[in-house]
């Protein structure tokens, strides 16, 4: 096993290339610039194309064109840039095209700041753009997992013909960790017979997001909804730790899950039975797992780098069975294990717990 010390953004780019990505269209924005920079050097080495677009709007529409043409294609950006891409993402979803979008999240709203945040959860999981569609969202908690998951993103995108997002906070993009680049797990997918390549002697293909007849748009949305349900059934991912006898469940994703784990271990050492539930896919959300644990634990604590976004999905999953508390830091401030530990102590001591920021 060869491991190399590499920055998260560069690991994501390298893993994408190894997964067969040969086209990248992007626009500079901090803190994800190492991805386009790496791609501008790396893609020509493997016969691929890097192109710096005039805007995020243009970049995502170049992705639309290349995806429709049958290529494995990726774009990356950070929060304000992802907002600009939402139009294109809606069209890509509507045209049933596979692509990978990386969002290295910074604080917001607006121009916000450039430090790590998780405040794009709503945008990523609840649509972002207009219309009835879903984006599959993977949320790695380490650089290794980011490299592994970006490879998986391409397979999921191609299998279901959907846009897939890899969402990491600024820490995932900027920190260096040892990474082993594994062989991508190929799913044995079919050729893209639907791609626009020119007729080439066969039937022509038309890529379109236009469904102007109401009945056709209705049927299209139902067909896609069936695909989204299949994705929810087969692709939901979640990791649990120390949950077997847990009485308090901490729910956290991304790098915050690692902070939360330290707090969980400290609480365990103090005799409090806590455990960690870490959603790896944010959509589909591991609602069933959380719902099951609601029968076991006394309460939940959701920890996020936002003012409280994923906590809404946790509450929907728990469905009123147990109290769900929240602790968050936002605006680029990272919660500390001590702060999370203190929240757990308050809960264990039965103090009345208010949502806490």
């Amino acid at each position: 096993m060869t491991r190399e010390l590499i920055k998260g953004n560069e690991a994501i780019a390298e893993a994408a290339v190894r997964a067969g990505c040969r086209y990248f269209f992007g626009y500079p924005i901090t803190p994800q610039n190492e991805i386009p920079e790496y791609m501008s050097k790396r893609l020509p080495e493997v016969g691929g194309t890097y192109l710096q677009a005039e805007s995020e709007l243009a970049a995502i529409n170049m992705v639309y064109g290349a995806a429709g043409a049958g290529a494995r294609v990726m774009t990356s950006s950070s929060s304000p840039g992802i907002s600009l891409k939402q139009e294109g993402i809606s069209y890509i979803a509507s045209a049933k095209l596979p692509c990978v979008i990386v969002n290295i999240v910074r604080s917001g709203p607006g121009l916000g700041g450039i430090l790590p945040a998780q405040s794009d959860y709503f945008q990523a999981t609840k649509g972002g753009g207009h219309g009835d569609y879903r984006v599959v969202v993977f949320a790695p908690s380490s650089v290794q997992e980011a490299a592994d998951l970006v490879m998986e993103c391409f397979e999921v995108a191609d299998q279901y013909r959907v846009p897939v997002m890899l969402m990491g906070d600024g820490m995932i993009g900027q920190m260096m960790e040892p990474v082993e680049f594994k062989e991508p797990k190929k799913r044995g997918l079919h050729e893209k017979s639907w791609a626009t390549t020119g007729r080439q002697g066969g039937e022509r293909n038309v890529i379109s997001s236009l469904h102007i007849v109401a009945e056709e748009c209705y049927d299209f949305c139902l067909e896609r909804e069936a695909v989204y349900r299949e994705i929810a059934e087969k692709e939901t991912r979640c990791e649990t730790e120390l949950m077997d006898d847990a009485e308090i469940a901490v729910v956290a994703y991304g790098t915050v899950a690692r902070i939360a784990k330290n707090a969980v271990l400290k609480a365990r050492a103090a005799g409090i039975k806590t455990g960690l539930i870490r959603p790896i896919t944010l959509w589909p959300f591991p609602s069933d797992i959380i719902n099951d644990y609601a029968k076991q634990v006394n309460s939940f604590l959701t920890v996020e780098m936002s003012t409280g976004q994923m906590v809404e999905d946790v509450r929907l999953a728990v469905n009123g069975q147990k109290p769900v508390h929240f602790f968050g830091r936002t605006g680029g401030i990272i919660p500390t294990p001590e702060e999370v530990f203190n929240e757990l102590m308050k809960m264990a001591e039965g103090e009345k717990h208010e949502n806490n920021l």
């Binding site: 086209y23 269209f25 194309t49 192109l51 677009a53 005039e54 805007s55 709007l57 243009a58 970049a59 529409n61 170049m62 992705v63 639309y64 064109g65 290349a66 995806a67 429709g68 043409a69 049958g70 290529a71 294609v73 139009e87 294109g88 069209y91 045209a95 626009t196 390549t197 020119g198 007729r199 080439q200 002697g201 022509r204 293909n205 038309v206 890529i207 379109s208 997001s209 236009l210």
Partner: protein, 244 residues
């Protein structure tokens, strides 16, 4: 009986949704003839835009990708980069190209993107019901300039061909008109040249076709052609603006 002229096979026999007298049908036919004359039916990929020509794929029998409003040059860039030997073209109206998609068209031209752009300029938004366009003439009445376009608040029409011609990546830029038989014959040559520019990998090519919109101009088809000739051409002079 001897056939001396027939429509190319790539031009489908669908009934068109375009209004009577609209020149989109003529422009579609010129595109179909150019594709056929270059023998490129099997490697042509069109990028349709948003506006009346959103249904272009219904009439041209080649691969198509339908783009978001204004984004056709970016979509075509993605297609062309994946299939450099395909004949990739966009078909865009004035709202699409000269308003919401200005950044995309300028930068596709600046990159020398090896694509062909067919730009339909009829000085109005057709599909949405006759609103003021970026190419609406000063004084022209539309549903959003009911007193006529007043430059004091609404500014002036944009001459896209002249702007694009200033860019080093643009290899061929011409403005032609579709208002009588001779002008259509000249437009046909321009469209073919714009496709040949791509075949010879010279860079970005655009043909602006001055077109009529009788319905939203409130004119008969014949009067619309006369108006195009008398009023649009002085604002948008015909000619070749760039050829390398």
């Amino acid at each position: 009986m001897k056939t001396i002229y027939k429509k190319p096979d790539v031009f489908l026999s669908e009934n068109m949704h375009y209004c009577p007298g609209c020149t989109h049908g003529v422009a579609h036919r010129l595109v179909a003839e150019a594709i056929a004359e270059l023998g490129a039916e099997e490697r042509a990929i069109g990028v349709a835009s948003v506006g009346c020509s959103v249904f272009a794929a219904n009439y041209l029998d080649c691969d198509f990708t339908e783009a978001a409003h204004g984004r056709a040059p970016a979509v075509a860039t993605g297609v062309k980069r994946v299939h450099p030997n395909a004949l990739v073209f966009t078909y865009q109206g004035d709202g699409d190209l000269a308003s919401i998609g200005v950044a995309e068209i300028i930068h596709a031209a600046a990159r020398g993107e090896n694509i062909t752009v067919i730009f339909i300029n009829n000085a109005i938004y057709g599909m949405t019901g006759g609103q003021m366009a970026p190419t609406t003439l000063v004084g022209q009445t539309t549903t959003t300039s009911p007193g006529g376009r007043n430059p004091a608040g609404a500014g002036y029409p944009i001459r896209m061909s002249e702007i694009i011609a200033t860019l080093d990546g643009a290899a061929y830029v011409e403005r032609a008109g579709l208002y009588d038989v001779p002008s259509i014959a000249r437009a046909k040559k321009a469209v073919k040249k714009a496709f040949e520019t791509q075949v010879h990998k010279k860079g970005f090519a655009m043909v602006e076709l001055l077109s009529t919109c009788p319905t939203n101009w409130g004119k008969t088809p014949v009067d619309a052609m006369t108006w195009l000739k008398d009023y649009m051409i002085p604002q948008f002079p015909l000619g070749v603006f760039k050829e390398v």
